[in-house]
């Protein structure tokens, strides 16, 4: 695959092997593409053993993704029982942990959570620090309606053993958001910020979570993180909107306070008003000449008038 290859070109050339490789290398989620090209690819006799197995694995996962369980099962079968015209020197047995992972995934796709859980339990017995199996066990719970509490407990347990797994913290943040636990989500995003302090998008999400959680202290933190987000990436439109919204949210929270407490927040109010003006000007600038300019100007005019 040369540097000039891109996906539409490969598809047009019907280069099935490289389409699959491209999807794998770039970690794209394109199950329909993989299944379409994969089905043709595995019929080909010129496929090497290692490539054949890797492709079968990829097609099997894609088949589970689109719900084609028959295809998934046939891939599983072919992996352990290569047909006679494809004599392979690479033999895969049913005890192979890579095969087992695939089998369990297919069981999950079929909704057979008990059997899938059993396979993951065996994998965990063989290797108690098998992160993949532990995560899939959480996924099984998360997939079932009404088990959000159990799922979050399982994920919590996983995170206590693997506190450096940022993807898991992200998953936990989303789980908290789905049950409207905005403070919990903010806690998870804080962990993510520790891991990626220069990522504007994470600061944005953190700011949004604090803003939604409510309360003066959270509103201040929301303002700070959204300000950090726009500083890290001045083109982060979401962060600019968030900044204006968070500053306004802070002023709203101040309104609710008693007069004496409000005086302590004088400086904060000045900062918030400046941020609203600053964010507003930036947004108007971004939309200048675009279709949405009138609408954006109307909204921001309204917000600066209430200052």
């Amino acid at each position: 695959m040369g540097p000039e290859e891109n996906l539409p070109t490969l598809i047009a050339q019907k280069d099935h092997l490289n389409v699959l490789r491209y999807v794998r290398a770039h970690q794209l989620r394109e199950p329909n593409l993989v299944v379409t090209h994969g089905k043709i690819l595995i019929e080909s006799k010129s496929l090497g053993d290692a490539e054949r197995l890797a492709s079968l694995e990829q097609i099997c996962i894609a088949a589970c993704d689109i719900g084609d369980l028959d295809l998934a099962e046939s891939c599983l079968d072919t992996i352990v029982n290569p047909s006679s015209n494809n004599k392979s020197s690479l033999v895969v047995t049913k005890e192979s942990s890579r095969y087992r992972k695939l089998l369990a995934l297919c069981l999950e796709a079929a909704g057979n959570y008990e059997s899938a859980g059993a396979v993951y339990d065996i994998l965990l017995q063989d290797n108690p620090s098998n992160a993949y199996a532990a995560k899939r066990k959480y996924c099984i719970l998360a997939a079932q309606r009404g088990k959000e509490g159990d799922a979050m407990k399982a994920l919590d347990e996983y995170l206590s053993k693997h506190p450096g797994d940022l993807a898991a913290w992200n998953e936990m943040a989303e789980a908290c958001l789905s049950v409207s636990d905005f403070k919990g989500a903010a806690y998870c995003y804080e962990e993510l910020v520790l891991g990626c302090p220069l990522d504007s998008n994470i600061h944005t999400k953190l700011g949004e979570a604090y803003c939604t959680a409510g309360g003066v202290e959270n509103a201040k933190l929301a303002r700070k993180h959204l300000a950090q987000a726009v500083q890290l990436d001045p083109n982060n439109l979401r962060a600019w909107y968030g900044l204006v919204a968070a500053a306004e949210g802070y002023l709203e929270e101040i309104e609710k306070m008693s007069k004496n407490k409000r005086e302590a927040e004088d400086q904060g109010m000045e900062v918030a008003k400046e941020l609203i003006k600053f964010g507003g000007e930036k947004l108007v600038g971004i939309y200048k000449g675009t279709k949405m300019a009138r609408v954006v100007n109307a909204v921001l005019k309204e917000s600066s008038e209430t200052l």
């Binding site: 309606r145 958001l177 949210g249 609408v295």
Partner: protein, 217 residues
């Protein structure tokens, strides 16, 4: 049980179906319902749908989207057309029972603020997976699995648990056909979050989330 009568336009249903299908991989979707609602004769007309996000919505996203759509409607000049509801589809495709928690909270907050003809007629619409399947499958009777289930606020509990009976929800003719055609053509649909996260990309200007003008029935 609510006695409000609801009519849903094909345009609104198609947009909700497209939005839901685009993010079918375990993402919840949320959006704004635009239409006409008169408090007096308990008739609610769903005319259009504006997609907002395909994740759990946070306060800045909801606030900004609502204000932008409101300003847009005011500038359009049609006095009767207002924001009358919120629509959602649950993250898990097998979960068609009740609307998710965030949608219910948003609907409560919006109806308390007096949107939608004084707040009492405010509607929460849930797009169901079974409805989507029924719309695309040629042989099933789509009236058995309606695409949209409509909920209103219960006067006592204030929760959005009063479902409007499906017999009181009328679709336009040929809606199923229109929806399945739109889905098979993979008509592009953009929501507010698409618009704000893709600033700087080549097709930013075409992410017309408020009108989604590319969707032609």
């Amino acid at each position: 049980m609510s006695t409000t009568r609801i009519s849903v336009s094909s345009l609104a249903e198609t947009k909700m179906a497209l939005h839901s299908a685009k993010h079918g991989f375990s993402n919840p979707i949320h959006g704004i319902i635009v239409g006409k609602s008169s408090g007096t004769d308990s008739v609610v007309e769903i005319i259009d749908a504006v997609p907002v996000c395909h994740e759990v919505p946070t306060k800045p996203i909801v606030d900004m989207a609502l204000r932008l759509v409101d300003a847009h409607l005011q500038q359009q000049g049609d006095d009767d057309l207002t924001i009358i509801g919120w629509y959602t589809s649950n993250a898990s495709t097998s979960d068609d029972e009740t609307p998710n928690l965030s949608a219910c909270r948003i609907a409560s907050a919006m109806s308390d603020c007096g949107q939608g003809g004084g707040g009492d007629n405010f509607i929460l619409v849930m797009v169901t997976t079974s409805g989507l399947l029924a719309a695309v499958s040629k042989d099933s009777d789509s009236s058995l699995s309606p695409l949209c289930r409509v909920f209103q606020k219960d006067a006592k509990t204030k929760a959005f648990s009063n479902e409007v009976d499906s017999s009181l929800v009328t679709q336009e003719n040929d809606t199923s056909y229109i929806i399945s055609k739109a889905l098979s053509k993979e008509m592009p649909i953009y929501d507010f979050v698409d618009h704000i996260t893709n600033y700087g990309s080549e097709d930013w200007n075409s992410m017309d989330w408020i009108k989604n003008g590319a969707i032609k029935l």
